[in-house]
Symmetry: C2
Subunit: 337 residues, 2 copies
């Protein structure tokens, strides 16, 4: 894939980079609100990749994805009487809506009209107002910024925000703590990557606690902006018009703040095809008994295909979300894994 437009040269972000202390503070805010998701192990998966794999299933998180962590960490620090606006294809929408509902704040969510029905329905179920935009025609950031100005609301960005990154980083903190409790030292951690907030937060916690760990981003083919940007140490965007079943991972380019972190802390990135994602979803159904959405399955897909070589290694694979419509799920099950 050819490199596309460069976004910006420098790596000095305009916002503060969160550190381990910020992530530990987020963990304290999330205590009792977020699920401490377990580390799961499958003998079948270990045999298949020839290593030891621990799955971190954020599918089991409140709202069905990791996004609740960052949203709650951010919104719980807003002044009393605030209201919030967010733009999202669905998982951040649900995270923001649920966190706002718990904290008693009104929320407006800007979602693409073609978001999965389950994500739209769930967002509304948390009491949020949903405003649609056209993924191909409208600039979602502008729509959301306009709404935020009109309603005097705080814009809760999906990834390029220190409080969001710190919230997602609690996953990395838990991984380090849970591996220590198991008496294992992970050599590799692989995570799905859209705008890069999840992996930036995790990398911050993990590299602070386990300096030798190698952290890999996994993206859908056509949306491998982080992998290419890591190679050139420059933020690169994706080719316009690319498509993917991974609706959660279609950010146009790495975030400014997230890439500043990821460029420093990640070992590299790779990309998987829609068909590899479907095979991973089918494998998760058959062997792991987990419901994982397309975007949540990319790191597992990289492990199963060998694009991420885990032979003889101890690895943690993050499965970031499980909000998938029954029809999309059934299609994946029809793919031979």
């Amino acid at each position: 894939m050819a490199a596309v437009s460069e976004i910006r040269g420098g790596t000095a972000p305009s916002q503060k980079v969160p550190d381990l202390a910020a992530i530990e503070a987020a963990a304290r805010r999330l205590a009792g609100q977020a699920v401490v998701t377990p580390l799961l192990e499958s003998h079948d998966l270990n045999a298949r990749v020839g290593g030891r794999v621990l799955i971190k299933p954020e599918t089991l998180q409140r709202t069905g994805s990791f996004k609740f962590r960052g949203a709650f960490n951010k919104i719980s620090q807003l002044p009393r009487g605030s209201s919030v606006v967010a733009f999202s294809s669905g998982n951040h929408a649900q995270g923001v809506a649920a966190a706002a509902q718990i904290l008693g704040l009104p929320a407006v969510i800007v979602m693409p009209g073609d978001a999965p029905a389950i994500k739209i329905a769930n967002t509304r179920s948390y009491g949020a107002e949903v405003v649609f935009y056209d993924r191909h025609r409208d600039d979602r950031e502008k729509v959301a910024a306009g709404l935020a100005a009109e309603r005097k609301a705080s814009l809760v960005r999906p990834y390029d925000d220190p409080d969001i990154i710190a919230g997602q980083g609690t996953i990395g903190l838990e991984i380090a703590q849970q591996c220590r409790a198991l008496g294992v030292t992970p050599e590799v951690v692989a995570s799905p990557c859209g705008g890069g907030g999840l992996i930036a937060g995790c990398a911050t916690a993990l590299r602070a606690l386990l300096p030798e760990v190698r952290i890999h981003s996994v993206e859908p083919q056509g949306f491998d902006d982080t992998a290419r940007s890591l190679q050139t140490h420059t933020r690169l965007g994706n080719q316009p018009g690319a498509t993917s079943i991974c609706d959660a991972l279609m950010a146009p380019s790495p975030g400014e703040l997230t890439f500043a972190i990821n460029d420093r802390l990640l070992a590299g990135g790779c990309a998987v095809s829609d068909r590899e994602v479907q095979a991973a979803m089918a494998y998760a159904f058959r062997a792991l008994k987990l419901v994982i959405e397309p975007g949540g399955s990319v790191a597992l897909a990289a492990a199963l295909t060998g694009k991420l070589d885990l032979r003889g290694r101890v690895a943690v694979i993050i499965c970031s979300g499980g909000n998938v419509d029954p029809g999309t799920f059934a299609q994946a099950l029809a793919v031979e894994s």
Copy 2:
């Protein structure tokens, strides 16, 4: 439903009743072989039932169901050079096949010709020989006993065996330990029930460690032999010709040994319909992100329908297995929950 034929009067079983020490010994044999499945909590499920529910997902167990525990506990105590025969609709088959493979013993499994394809394929994948019988015409126990005699093999019964019950009881032991670690005291534990080995083992561990806990069996309608037997303190069989999508829970009557335990330790039982089971499977897909097979979902179904009243209570719900064919799963997702 009318009471059916009485199986036998007395409650004094011909085999030794396992105790907490036998379950603790089983836990030591299973260490490093079986998965210590986590307790999962869902805010959505808590809100829905009006209580606090902890899910024990044996779907995440090796071979996709709890049956591995009992099978490994039993087979690991057989003399060197043994071989094994078992009859099973599928989950015990996989548990026995996997345990025998790990321990290096040949295994022959007698399965109904209409068992789910995933269970037949998985059983063969663990190296076992599969022999089919006709669920409506043949006596599976006789077929298996004949094969065992012919091949000088040990018959590994699915539930009516102290070592099998003790192995399944390690789930109850883990529930007690995990609840203690969480600082909660479960008031209710509900479990799927076929022949009664899972719930008999769990009840033995749980009532020893938490004497006040109320333990409920849940069965498919038409196969509620344990519920009816508990009411009359007499082993009763099911009406011939009953059907259910819960292929794992179609035992003809309570076991002699399991019922002697369950009659003493259980608080009662209830039954759920196929439609309620499908709704529970769909709920688990949508809200819990877990793949649960029909028979594994009955206790969750009892909680969701209110047949098990959990309002204001702390409860543990055992989801016993996840080996379901994609077509059966897709049909359940089509049911409104």
